[in-house]
Symmetry: C2
Subunit: 353 residues, 2 copies
């Protein structure tokens, strides 16, 4: 019997759980929406499986339920937010909303975020710009889990980056990826489910390639994607995000204590396209690009050419159609355990059909 | 007998040659500096070997010697430049200088460039920010020469990107790379010199891997780097640069006629770090990152871990020491032929020692 979680109940469950731990309803709702949208786009590495990690941080004080976020610098084209250890999605959403407003006068609007916690999947923020026909751009640093080119040991974070570009009739282009060969969450999930992983994803603690996720997780590391170029991009994101935000470099950043925030920095940016070109012409040209790309002659064994984010939009539509997203029994149990642990009485009867 | 071109004579030769073709001295000097700095950093794909391509464009009118560049949009955080088919380095340098000034009040300053010509190596522009302790960021589109993930045929340009981050005692971090597995210039140079190329770089016109640069150049294409993630980055740069600047999509952009400009768009950006953090603290943290990265345990067979741009800084120092950069006999002949063709009398006697 598959476990299908209805979208709205996922939001509700998460929100109620975080409220049990002291989060304001408004913030808990954002967490619920973020984790649910992650699942609905098939980004299971950043969805409900994060609940035990996040509740532990909230319980321990590393996530600040009473954060007082503050604009500490403000300029005509940019600002800086001290997130005061708020939930990542709370600070990220606040900043993107403000950037959208700012871009209406400044064309490009940019923000530096400091004292911040894990933002989850970054496409959540870049895609906020799409509703306003704007381009969204986000990257951030993270605790060191990933090797750089030339060394098979952990040094930088996964250095994720997301860019969202509006289209017309086609789905928007939404690039959303870690600069590691794979998101760490996928290694975690493989480990939980006892599956092996491709040799190109990770190294073990001795710097040797491994297909066992447990070896990678116990003192090993992930690899940067794309050889020296991908490693270079990981380095840029890692050092710039941390240094401009006065957060520790990734290799110095031990955030394992529940009382500790994730201590990360990031940069978010919005471009109001209409300040530079007629928006309908812009979207028409993006459609032309996408349509031609998908009609390109395919390589051997390739069934379809996908644009960045397209697989996630397809997933979203499929989950909408079936009335929710599927989770495995181990994760379902974890969600029930979390409810028990924090005294949340929730009716899960709809989830098992 | 090696051919060593003294740095200053390279600048002088280029400037005089472009002036013979009608360029203003000021603009010709910028071209000379750009091509020379490319050689001095060992980026031979964007150095003097480009002279026949550029002179042909200037002679044919595709490069506008009397360009009237114009700011067509201006906002608190950004502006848009119509480059009027000026030499790429002339428009790029103008924009970066203006961004540096603008960033002093706006924190982040960004520009869209349109009606632009080939910018050469983008590190030239990102590095301009370093002299002001700022971060420089540049990307642009280009004629379609590169395949996207799933199709072994040309569709996007090389989608180059450069980011420069200031450091303290260490060399700055200067990422400067095409999103193709390799710069097209390197395939050209291999072809000129009759060398084979790695199988991972290109496809032939039938969509098959090849080690013969001539096969790649006659109807074949380069590949994007780093699998679907690298391809995604190439797509973002390609479509955003073209569509925001109202330039043709890469696959529609045939700029082979000497009377045609390269019809490209791009985005340049500068961050004034001091608006967000004490600049010496920032540089100290970047130094900490670099020093630790270089001290990481190395992988098997790795002699040294390099930061982005470090190999180019080493090259620059080595060339400075030997009084200039080395070129092959074929390129030397091309330079003499170009001088003859455009009536430049130049004393090459210092170059062969």
């Amino acid at each position: 019997m598959p476990i299908i979680i209805p979208e709205d109940q996922s939001r509700e469950y998460c929100s109620l759980l975080f409220q049990k731990l002291g989060a304001k309803k408004e913030d808990a709702d954002i967490m619920g929406d973020h984790l649910t949208m992650s699942e609905m786009r098939g980004i299971y590495s950043h969805g409900l499986s994060r609940i035990p990690v996040y509740t532990r941080k909230l319980d321990g004080g590393g996530f600040n339920a009473n954060a007082e976020m503050k604009i500490v610098k403000e300029y005509p084209g940019s600002f800086m937010l001290d997130a005061d250890k708020a939930f990542g999605p709370v600070s990220g959403k606040f900043v993107m909303n403000r950037l959208v407003e700012k871009a209406k006068t400044s064309g490009f609007a940019s923000a530096v975020l400091t004292n911040a916690n894990h933002w989850g999947f970054l496409g959540y923020y870049s895609m906020m710009a799409l509703e306003h026909d704007m381009v969204g751009f986000v990257f951030c640093n993270a605790t060191g889990t990933t090797s750089i080119y030339g060394s098979p040991h952990r040094f930088v974070g996964t250095s994720p980056i997301s860019v969202a570009i509006p289209a017309g009739k086609c789905d928007p282009i939404v690039f959303d990826a870690a600069s590691s060969a794979v998101a760490m969450g996928k290694v975690n999930v493989a480990n939980l489910e006892g599956r092996s992983i491709p040799e190109e994803w990770t190294y073990d603690k001795n710097g040797h390639a491994t297909t066992n996720p447990a070896d990678a997780l116990s003192g090993g590391c992930m690899r940067a994607f794309g050889g020296y170029k991908g490693s270079g991009i990981a380095i840029l994101i890692s050092v710039l995000s941390a240094a401009i935000a006065a957060m520790p470099n990734d290799f110095m950043n031990n955030d394992s204590n529940p009382a500790s925030g994730n201590n990360v920095g990031g940069i978010m940016q919005v471009i109001d396209i209409s300040k530079f070109r007629d928006i309908d012409e812009f979207k028409g040209q993006v459609d032309e690009f996408i349509t031609a790309a998908k009609a390109q002659p395919k390589g051997e064994g390739v069934e379809e050419i996908f644009m960045p984010g397209e697989i996630e939009f397809n997933k979203y539509r499929a989950f909408k159609k079936q009335g929710g997203f599927e989770v495995g029994p181990a994760l379902f149990q974890t969600l029930k355990d979390s409810a028990d642990k924090y005294g949340l009485v929730y009716d899960f009867s709809d989830w098992e059909r």
